[in-house]
């Protein structure tokens, strides 16, 4: 296989990764890293570099649509962004010291967590009556129009400090593994800070790009953003994600989800095996 064929094949497969990712609500990173390492035998650090770059692209593309709809909360995204960017810098640094085996093992674990999260039904809880003091000072409360129930929902934010701590950890994992770590960001907002599920998802998407940008710089200067790997990956994943967003309303997402969970568990086991073998 020549570099040309490699890049073309990788780009095409990444279209599939982006498509699948947007259909099941995960970023492309969680698919891209196993694809690059297990299928193409690319060094895991170069795979992570390519993935972090493509994560910025998909997050920004998706966020452009969400922000306009008023679903994501810019104020919350910026506040939590302080924690995720610090976490991302820490993660990208640690990634330079730890062994590839450790990265495989951690990646396998995060994949398993994502699979478990997808198994759980997403349901809305009752909204809070009032925000905590910090959230009140920063005016994090907001309203959005819910298209499903056709009513305007007002929500408040609580446990802002706990949210910040959890976001630091989410940023750390993102910087270490080159993924958006939406699987950690969404529960931090939804479970800890009690934001509505839809708002948590939209805001997480929005924050992922900022988080990824904070570690991507470090990967770039380290020489991990390989043009023949990161270029085709970013292009493919974005094309796939855009197509996925167009297809989504026409597909039965439940079926795709079911298959995807099985794939996630399988890939998770393989990564864990590489980590501990």
């Amino acid at each position: 296989m020549s570099v040309l064929i490699f890049s073309l094949t990788l780009g095409l497969l990444c279209v599939g990764a982006g498509l699948l990712g947007s259909l099941v609500g995960l970023g492309g990173g969680i698919i891209v890293v196993p694809l690059l390492t297990l299928v193409f035998h690319v060094d895991i650090r170069i795979a992570i570099g390519a993935s972090i770059i493509s994560t910025i692209a998909t997050s920004s593309g998706a966020a452009a649509a969400y922000v306009k709809g008023g679903l994501s909360n810019i104020r919350v995204a910026l506040l939590l962004g302080i924690a995720t960017t610090f976490g991302a810098i820490s993660g990208a640094y640690i990634a330079g010291f730890v062994s590839a085996r450790f990265l495989y093992a951690l990646f396998g674990t995060i994949l398993a967590i994502s699979a478990i999260q997808m198994l759980k039904r997403k349901k809305e809880r009752k909204a809070l009556d009032k925000p905590d003091a910090l959230a009140e000072r920063l005016r994090l409360s907001k309203t959005y129009y819910d298209t499903a129930s056709q009513e305007t929902v007002t929500y408040h934010v609580e446990r802002t400090r706990l949210g910040l701590l959890l976001m630091y950890i989410a940023g750390l994992v993102s910087g270490l593994l080159g993924i958006g770590s939406g699987a950690l960001k969404v529960p931090a907002m939804d479970l800890a800070m009690r934001l509505p599920m839809k708002v948590s998802t939209a805001t997480s998407n929005f924050m992922i790009g900022v988080t990824a940008a904070a570690s991507a710089g470090i990967y770039f200067f380290r020489g991990d953003i390989n043009p023949f790997v990161a270029g085709p990956t970013a292009l493919g994943v974005v094309i796939g994600a855009v197509a996925g967003a167009k297809l989504l309303p026409k597909l039965k997402a439940e079926k795709v989800r079911g298959i995807f969970i099985v794939v996630l568990i399988g890939v998770s086991l393989q990564m864990l095996l590489k980590g501990f073998a």
Partner: protein
């Protein structure tokens, strides 16, 4: 609630709506431009070095490993782009992509400051400072 605070809250909501519109456009534009540049760079790179890049065998492993030297400092990328090197153009596109989040964070910091939303403006400037810090940390190794 006094009329003054009522007005200022409405003002803030308008500011946020406007900001959402700007941020959405910046994000879309950033992705389209940066990926366009990278795609163009890839085409140029394959045309410039078609013999080695389309050769089969183990040479591929060299190009996708750490052994392959490509511009990964701002200076090297600048020099490469000036010399119309396809590989440097790919890297330039990826740098532009990396800078897209920087742009919207900075814009929101300025918009919040303009609308006298001091707390959020400080928050946004802090995020921007951390992003800049990440790049300078990366540069110094």
């Amino acid at each position: 609630m006094s009329a003054a605070t009522g007005r200022s809250i409405a003002d803030h909501l308008d500011a946020e709506k406007m900001l959402e519109g700007i941020v959405s456009r910046v994000l879309r534009l950033g992705v389209v431009i940066s990926l366009g540049v990278s795609a163009f760079g890839l085409v140029v790179a394959f045309l410039q070095d078609s013999r080695r890049l389309s050769a089969t065998g183990s040479i591929r492993l060299h190009y996708i490993s750490h052994a392959f030297q490509f511009p990964h400092t701002l200076h090297a990328v600048y020099a490469g782009v000036s010399a119309f090197s396809g590989i440097a153009i790919v890297e330039l596109g990826l740098i532009l992509l990396l800078l897209t989040p920087f742009a919207w964070v900075l814009i929101s910091a300025i918009v919040f400051a303009y609308h006298k939303d001091k707390a959020l403006s400080i928050v946004a400037f802090t995020v921007f400072a951390v992003l800049v810090l990440s790049v300078s940390l990366g540069k110094s190794g």
